[in-house]
């Protein structure tokens, strides 16, 4: 992390919470009331607001993508300024691969919103049209504990326009994602649990009921009553009940709910 990053980190921390709350509210309520420009203008600390937009990456665009909020050139300018103010670390640094993957997702979502971000200053190794790659440490291989932990860090990639190996791995290994979710719940790590629930909400397995938690559905003829089968909706309700007042968690839950109900509502 650079000196500039460090100096801004306190302001960024509170701005991230404020932005996450705003995003979660916009996702919940839908409609047109949310704007990144307005968020940045309202912030007491401009660097903090830009840091929050940079830190949330593609997630900062979720209401425009999923809840019908209109995305304006002024909003795009805020994202661009944030990338320039907080450039991604070079690929060889720790987290370099993670940043590259998250910035590739950002570029993909911007493209889906009609904005060409090719050549923007500060983006990590991202190219329009490229798929977010699994890099060293991004870890879409390995056993379920490492896999699910890596996947949680890549939660901003869990958005409909973003395709690639990470998403394919998440779709192929739903039981492992579910195991990571349960482990996180037992560790009271509700943020990781919510992020993994979001991955499960992204690509329901064909032929199964949407929003099913893998591994919890008894086979036909098994003895469990239907009400004993936890749905992904139950998971989201449960996390929400335990994590009230935690904007980052509530944001992930709001994204997951939008994904479950089909997005553009």
């Amino acid at each position: 992390m650079s000196v500039a990053h460090q100096a801004a980190s306190d302001a960024v921390g509170s701005a991230v919470s404020a932005l996450a709350s705003g995003l979660a509210g916009a996702l919940r309520d839908g409609g047109g009331g949310f704007s990144l420009r307005a968020f940045a203008d309202a912030a007491g600390e401009p660097a903090g607001a830009l840091g929050a937009v940079r830190g949330l990456g593609a997630d900062a665009l979720a209401p425009f993508l999923l809840a019908g909020c209109p995305f304006t050139t002024a909003d795009a300018a805020v994202v661009r300024a944030a990338a320039a103010a907080f450039p991604a670390p070079p690929p060889e640094e720790e987290d370099g691969a993670l940043w590259a993957a998250r910035d590739a997702a950002l570029v993909r979502v911007l493209a889906a919103l009609g904005v060409e971000a090719d050549g923007w200053e500060g983006l990590g190794e991202a190219r329009v049209g490229s798929e977010p790659e699994e890099g060293p440490g991004a870890g879409t291989a390995g056993e379920w504990p490492a896999f699910s932990a890596a996947l949680a860090k890549l939660a901003p990639l869990a958005l409909p326009p973003v395709t690639g190996p990470v998403r394919r791995a998440a779709a192929d290994r739903r039981l492992d994602v579910g195991r990571g979710l349960v482990r996180a719940m037992l560790r009271r790590d509700h943020l990781t649990a919510a992020r993994l629930a979001r991955w499960l909400a992204l690509d329901p397995r064909p032929g199964t009921a949407p929003g099913t938690v893998p591994g919890t559905v008894p086979r036909a003829g098994a003895g469990a009553a239907p009400e004993s089968v936890p749905s992904l909706g139950t998971v989201l309700d449960h996390i929400a009940a335990l994590a009230s007042g935690r904007p980052r968690v509530l944001f992930e839950l709001a994204v997951a709910r939008r994904l479950l109900t089909g997005g553009n509502g």
Binding site: P145, L175, R179, V182, T216, R219, A224, S228
Partner: protein, 313 residues
């Protein structure tokens, strides 16, 4: 996946060391002298019966080396003598006819061939009473009572399936709702239904599938939180399934937690240096370590597991 030979050696070593500690601590398992039978504390009966269970299972598995086999036999004889060859259990059953624990304890000895005729006659009589069908117990404990009846040759009741469904495990709840209390309920539901791994098919297939999904998570979490007592019980549960996984990396952590003297700490309270004081809170995980290791070695040698595709990757 083949069964990892290193895991089996580790399991054997954990058992041998834990058993040696239990042998050295034998006097701590002795029941108090000069006390009326019905005034012996439940904790003392429980500890002694758990010791008896562990060594009876070790004897049943017949996979121990000569030293451990001899220690196990000596401990089993010791426990039987402490229960006055069943007479104490009989007296306790007479004193409190509605209690289920004397026969539950006795069942462990029956498996090992130790019998007490009067207690069995009394147990059969009590089992015929209407009261026996209406004992209020938590559902997994109820399965323990049924397991003890089975050892006396009594058939399962027709509503066994319903009784299984009343347990926490039988309800297949949201797996993140597991806590320490119902974790012990899960392990004992499995132990009682499979006769401690002798009959994996005794656990209904849907519960096998549920555990195939979530046991890996619970094992991981209890290893991370160093909850050795519960972790050992969950490693035992794995050995009771039709498709065990053996968890080689978890076994390494479990074995590393064992003290040099063979005691397995519970991972919750700090063991005092004095073994006699450590006994109070740490004899149970050490007993668990004996059984977990024993069942693991026995299962690794089970020919049924060595066909192609029997062990999941």
């Amino acid at each position: 996946m083949t069964i990892d030979a290193a895991t089996v050696r580790l399991a054997q070593q954990v058992t041998d060391r834990a058993l040696a500690w239990l042998s050295r601590m034998r006097s701590c398992f002795a029941l108090p002298r000069g006390v009326d039978d019905h005034e012996v504390r439940g904790e003392a009966l429980k500890a002694l019966s758990e010791l008896a269970l562990a060594v009876a299972l070790l004897r049943r598995a017949a996979v121990a080396g000569p030293d451990s086999a001899r220690s196990a036999q000596e401990l089993l004889d010791f426990a039987w003598r402490e229960f006055r060859e069943g007479e104490l259990l009989y007296e306790l059953q007479c004193y409190t006819p509605a209690a289920t624990y004397p026969v539950e304890i006795y069942g462990e000895f029956v498996t090992a061939g130790y019998r007490h005729r009067k207690l069995e006659e009394l147990a059969l009589h009590l089992d015929g009473l209407r009261a026996a069908r209406f004992t209020e117990q938590v559902p997994n404990r109820r399965l323990g009572v049924l397991a003890a009846r089975r050892r006396l040759g009594l058939p399962d009741p027709p509503d066994l399936g319903e009784q299984i469904r009343r347990t926490w495990l039988g309800g297949m709840p949201e797996p993140w709702m597991l806590d320490a209390s119902n974790a012990y309920g899960v392990t004992h539901t499995v132990f009682h239904l499979t006769d401690w791994g002798a009959d994996p098919a005794g656990l209904p297939e849907e519960l096998q599938e549920y555990l195939a999904c979530w046991l890996p998570v619970w094992v991981e979490v209890f290893a991370e939180t160093r909850t050795w007592d519960l972790l050992g019980e969950f490693l035992m549960v794995d050995m009771c399934l039709t498709r065990p996984r053996f968890y080689p990396r978890v076994w390494e952590r479990f074995a590393a937690a064992q003290r040099a003297d063979g005691m397995m700490p519970n991972g919750v309270t700090r063991p005092p240096d004095d073994p006699a004081r450590a006994f109070l809170n740490h004899h149970h995980p050490t007993i668990v370590a004996v059984v977990a290791g024993t069942l693991t070695v026995a299962r690794a040698l089970d020919p049924a597991l060595h066909g192609p595709d029997r062990i999941p990757a």
